[in-house]
Amino acid sequence: MIYFDSAATSYPKSRAAVRAVTEAMRSCGNPGRSGHAPAMRAAKIMYECREKAARVFGTDPERVILAPSCTAALNMAVKGYIKSGKVLISNLEHNAVCRPLYAMRGAGRIELVSFDALAEDAVGEFAEKVKGAAAAVFTHGSNVCGKLLPLAKLVKRAHENGALTVIDAAQTAGYAEVSFERTGADIVCCAGHKGPGGPMGTGLLIVNRALDITPATILEGGTGLYSRDEEMPDLLPERLEAGTPAVALFAGLSAALDEFSLYSDFSAFDLLCDSLRDIKGVTVYCPDKGEERLPVLLFNIDGMDCDDVMNRLARKGICVRSGFHCAPLAHEALGTLNGGVRVSLGKQNTVEEVKIFCREIAAMAKTRL
């Protein structure tokens, strides 16, 4: 099998991560609820996971909120930290950013404005539109075309205008530098199961040390803390972590974080881009080599439905994703109104796999000429 769907989730998971999940399921109780050994083992696992994530992002462990997904983290960040006003997004956003904001706009809480992340002077347009904004919420890297946004520059412009920054790093954690020191962002949300290599069911909401705002909660319940109080505790991370967490999954994420390293060898991806562009009848959407990018591209074969392409590849044991990738704005921006086929690489992929893949695409495209 050739797995080219790392933007959906990393695959395969490491042995250490799988082992950690199994061990935690066998040995853990409910964390933060009692003082017996299984409960304390679970609490230790949760803390260690926070500690490791905090090291990657450059913050304190208590500022790492363990969430069920990046979507849940983004919902908490957007609805918890933004009260009202103008909010700026890009035209490459995933529905995990758009839909919570659309819901807030529907409730009359915010006004939404977008900037063109594909524009030559995206930073200039951002700087203009962020004036008077309460917040800018945007992706660090597109899950559709691999475009990497100039995060540090955009954050700087937002802060010059007093706007809070919430970053969707679902695609970039593990693929690009995401530390607060380098980006300056206020809040970063990411999936634990993509670049970091943890199990599905894990997400992270990470708060910069410099941000001193108590967020509103979108979920209330038991925290094992200050149980007599009617309100949720005002302390992070417990304020945003009501209910029993998925300890075993975070044990897996914690193990995966021990092996954390950035994707850095673009040779297989460069070959993929060049080879696909050389095939007649294939249109490729991805940034050029000189640009900052993720190993993610979108393509279409003239005259073929993207789902058909995906299904034909699946029958040959090649895994890609077709459709709209939960990012209709990005497809609108790229002009791919019928969707496309996304190829996303991970560290495990090889040049040989890319050659096999491109031969299959060339054969498919040939039948349409």
């Binding site: 964390p31 933060g32 009692s34 003082g35 409960a39 304390m40 609490a43 230790k44 949760m46 803390y47 926070r50 500690e51 462990p61 208590e62 094992g224 803390l225 200050y226 149980s227 007599r228 109080d229 505790p233 302390l235 991370p237 417990e238």
Partner: protein, 76 residues
């Protein structure tokens, strides 16, 4: 050896405190603390074996809010 429980604000801070004290060579273990329970319902602390004042100083330097300190044998 002297033993005391430092009452902390959450289980997260209990583990953070234990890590800080351990890094300085002190024996410290997160525990569910009855002392916090008396105040706000449920809570955690860190059991420290050794110099209480040194532990308090180290945690203060790291910005950890200690709600109280209870020496062994003084618990009601």
């Amino acid at each position: 050896m002297n033993k005391c429980t430092l009452v902390l604000t959450s289980v997260t801070y209990a583990y953070k405190a234990a890590g800080i004290l351990a890094a300085e060579g002190m024996r410290a273990y997160p525990v569910k603390s009855p002392d916090v329970a008396k105040v706000r319902g449920c809570g955690y602390g860190v059991e420290v074996y050794g110099d209480r004042e040194k532990a308090l100083k180290l945690l203060a330097q790291s910005g950890i809010n200690v709600l109280g300190a209870v020496d062994e044998g003084r618990r009601g």
